[in-house]
Symmetry: D2
Subunit: 366 residues, 4 copies
Amino acid sequence: VAHPQRLLVLLERDLQPADVERVRGTMAGRGVESRLADEYEDTVLATTHHEISPESLDGLRAIKGVRRVVPMTTPHPLVSSRDHTASEVRVGAVGIGPRTFTLIAGPCAIETSEQSRAAWDAAAAAGATVLRGDLFKHRTSPYSFQGVGRAGLELLAEHRRRLGLPVVVEVLSPGQLELVADVVDMVRIGARNMQNRDLLLACGRARKPVMLKRGFTATIEEWLLAAETVASCGNLDIVLCERGIRTFEPSTRNTLDLSAIAVIRERCQLPIVVDPSHGTGHRRLVPSLALAAIAAGADGVMVDVHPRPDTALCDGPQALLPHELGELGAQLAALARFVERDVSPVGAAADDHDGGNVARLSRGPR
Amino acid sequence: VAHPQRLLVLLERDLQPADVERVRGTMAGRGVESRLADEYEDTVLATTHHEISPESLDGLRAIKGVRRVVPMTTPHPLVSSRDHTASEVRVGAVGIGPRTFTLIAGPCAIETSEQSRAAWDAAAAAGATVLRGDLFKHRTSPYSFQGVGRAGLELLAEHRRRLGLPVVVEVLSPGQLELVADVVDMVRIGARNMQNRDLLLACGRARKPVMLKRGFTATIEEWLLAAETVASCGNLDIVLCERGIRTFEPSTRNTLDLSAIAVIRERCQLPIVVDPSHGTGHRRLVPSLALAAIAAGADGVMVDVHPRPDTALCDGPQALLPHELGELGAQLAALARFVERDVSPVGAAADDHDGGNVARLSRGPR
Amino acid sequence: VAHPQRLLVLLERDLQPADVERVRGTMAGRGVESRLADEYEDTVLATTHHEISPESLDGLRAIKGVRRVVPMTTPHPLVSSRDHTASEVRVGAVGIGPRTFTLIAGPCAIETSEQSRAAWDAAAAAGATVLRGDLFKHRTSPYSFQGVGRAGLELLAEHRRRLGLPVVVEVLSPGQLELVADVVDMVRIGARNMQNRDLLLACGRARKPVMLKRGFTATIEEWLLAAETVASCGNLDIVLCERGIRTFEPSTRNTLDLSAIAVIRERCQLPIVVDPSHGTGHRRLVPSLALAAIAAGADGVMVDVHPRPDTALCDGPQALLPHELGELGAQLAALARFVERDVSPVGAAADDHDGGNVARLSRGPR
Amino acid sequence: VAHPQRLLVLLERDLQPADVERVRGTMAGRGVESRLADEYEDTVLATTHHEISPESLDGLRAIKGVRRVVPMTTPHPLVSSRDHTASEVRVGAVGIGPRTFTLIAGPCAIETSEQSRAAWDAAAAAGATVLRGDLFKHRTSPYSFQGVGRAGLELLAEHRRRLGLPVVVEVLSPGQLELVADVVDMVRIGARNMQNRDLLLACGRARKPVMLKRGFTATIEEWLLAAETVASCGNLDIVLCERGIRTFEPSTRNTLDLSAIAVIRERCQLPIVVDPSHGTGHRRLVPSLALAAIAAGADGVMVDVHPRPDTALCDGPQALLPHELGELGAQLAALARFVERDVSPVGAAADDHDGGNVARLSRGPR
């Protein structure tokens, strides 16, 4: 009996149209019909067939110009986890993934030279291996502080060089991608832009890792589809970031959904980090949730720090003071080691992982 | 005693930098300090002063190049309603506002020539005075139908001409604004893009009315701030559209928040319409909610219609059949007349409104 | 082929155990196995059979002691709407149902003799045909005003007699049912008690109409199952009351879910009224939503009124002033007549309904 | 200047009315006016005064018959945490509180003798120090399995004796409190009953520890007020249980709100445990969230176990298999020891806690 099958074929980047046609022709010669996905130019092919053997699948993968061939058994085949394997994303020299625990820290926004230096120094001292610090802020009001903008680029470049740590910043529009390209190691798509298709496509075409925050009203499935949208344009270096969803509870800015970690682990191979600063909105709650995130299986946490939070131009109440970040960094490192994750800056996990005699906590029953 | 006061000054569009400086200089000469709002180029000035008389305020308004001067007594002064007065937005020959009731109808998406013609004919027959029918669809999955794109432009232009009715379509990116400029009368910012700042700024700089849908997780205040963002770029022709918020209730696609109509009326002078098709997701629920929207005080409703909903490429279950739209159109017109709103295409409401002997329903207690 | 079938058999009230056994024996003789539902004593039998004809079904209905036999085709067969027919519930001389529109009004809580008299007079003057006014308040804090309790019974009795209108009050515990039995015509189960099983069972065994408010976090399906719980104990005189669900929107106390009206109408034959006072929490929003409720198809609305809301011991901000209720009452009556509902106190709808030439609004497409 | 002050005075249980009057007289003699709280009989007095010194406060506390005197500086003074100190609640020989970590496990419902024995054996083997297993289930449908009821009492008693562990069961009505009094060590108020005032008052008057689950739509503040309602009747032995709140996310039955742990710790001295079984609804997610709960600072977790979940009469998909519970128990114990909590059955924490050299994780910055 013939069972039709749908496949997703991701092509090598920057193929010429003639090459795309050649690939499709080769596939057609093997009985695989194809068409270009809507609006996705030369990058992705959706394909159907009446049945395909593992050997034929491997045959398709071997066609020159083909990057990946995955059966469309989920709505988001490129980011789906087959056999629950998590992957690692490289950000500069740092690997974010299943073998490491990554602390990302810095100011919510770059405000002044002194403020950002103090915040980044505190981050480095606390063991952060990736720095944050935004140039452009996505504010609800057009009259609020919108970030220092390109004026902060040099500052960012200087401290990145000085501290030797990779940097992640938010981009609000496709145009900003190019602007920050030389001074950042990862770009971030914010919660309010999780379904900004224009930005997703642009980040998908970029050659830079992307951190994709969950929209605060997005289901996990919508979040994965946003990640798939980035992936379908050719960029597979995606780190997910849970930062709370909108509920009726007023004690916290949002309700951090730590269940998402285990759900993501089942459905998706991408690394996931947690932002308890934006998720709770209150610095006093940050440590409890940061630690819970590791225990739940997160691959990292991202926290805000500010030398004088009460004068912050943006999100002051949720920023840790430098000494608080120092304490939390030590606690996070201790717990990360307990769950056998590597916390050294380089991200090269030790090789004796599986020989440990302490149960690796985050796996759950099989 | 001196009370400082914050003002918002909206300048005429396309002022030269020298003219902006001249305006600011004149203001400074009258004791009003000013600065340009972040990222808003030559259009908006935020200003403070130690106290300002009504006469001085009028004086500022009279400066050449000044378009509006409003005290910043709310977070969204440009769209705020002083004395609860609603304004009217012109879309082609149609006025959407407090004196009229506007039915906006058509297909969710343009699919084929036959399908869109049948849907638009049904809309016109049912009394719609504005047509909808999208070229670009904002889908959650990158592999779903994304709309016919620019291929539908000619179709849109043809039927707009044939039926003599203005058209509204969604734009997903700043680039699409120019693309559709010649064939549409109003552009729509979709729910998922309500906080897409890039798109809000572009629509704010455009010279085309904007329909701004409420994000399905946005508070009313965030919605008004998104409208203010459009307004602060110079475009004051904004129609709000309530389309449901995300809740735990699974019987409906979203929970239509009809309370928003009265809340908006208190805080904002912009017209508000309701989309019960996307708000409920089920055609059987559309009539009940469309009628409720009028009674609650909405200035219009927007509904999907499709000749064969079961074959629709997008949102079929919520589209009315042509004959259902016809019935609903008659009911809506009857109820609109009952609440003394004009339903004729031209939108010129009769002059004897206030002499009516039936209570105008939507006003509420004073 | 044999298709097993599940039936629900509701027995006459107060059958003796021997009679129950006789009924079950008769059924068994006809091939219908049965058992008593858990915890439901002598009132309900769940039954299965391998196939049953309409004639056999009528045969079961004719057994002495059997009150109703319904196939279990929904999770809530007793309150389900077959053929979308709505039923009417009698409260004193008033019929709440599809032919009438009922205004229920009065104070949120009885506070003093003067306050409650003024509120009830305002209610009667505004056209209310059912009075409200609680003795026991379900407060979140144990230290808030808990109602005047039994001290208010005489007051309630006196004004009910004086105004000649039926009364509905909330009961918080099974014990209060007996306490209020002589002076009220309908008891109300509040939102916080919608899943208080003890109270549902007690109201189900009572011989008094029950108004069942939707829990502010309950799905519509859970609400219907709570109604079914009351019905399964023998009390079929249930009026549903939508009063808003909990969402993230802070402008209103809750988000009134008017979609629930059309959803309920599809699934359930019980009348449904709407409480815009508790649903919005702000008196200025009450009229807009009350009118929307009628247009959406509600069978009535319940509103709070207070002579001096700023001094109210409970929920003052949502209570209308007497003159506001008067205005609203006139608007509601006008709109109710427009949709061809009877608004006279006795509830006897005119017979010429279906001959009207104005579309009955709330029906929706068929 | 005179500052009035409000106090809450909790009396000894079972005072005679004459003794209550004597206490109030003594207080009046010291300038403290008082009245009995509404509906709270002889147990609680609310009091005001124009200013009170620490010495006078101690003087009031020394009056015979007075149990506690607390200033009303929060809406829930009896359960509030002064100086963030957590208290311990004794359940049989087990102490639930800041020095221990308690695993509560067993079947969701007692179904059969074999099933409950297997589940309890698995619980004990996994290190549980408190057993669960309900007699009465609070089901949404009246036709679902409602629990074995009193038929399970003997079974419960037998295995409690055999395993030597205390037991917690849910009570649905005041009447069930007496029924289970001899065979359980703690009663549980379920999520749907969190605002069942009748049940809260009855549990408050009982002499048995109470586990109070958070309503799945309750704010943290409402939850604390429900606890205060229990406390105000004299029962201060309350354990809070977070079990998820209702959100729009469909991947999990509810969204477990682990932020609540840190929020509760700031506002309240009561112990808090977490129920990841009911909170997530999927056994695969339970371990991740159980571990996160400890790291976040929870005093215990409660999990369902079932020998054959696919045949369970209630909530099977969330029950762990016995061997899964065994693995999880080992992981929980290891992590609990890491955060310096005692996991031995007797609950007597070692005395050298504060000398440890590993940061106690859950405290957060000071």
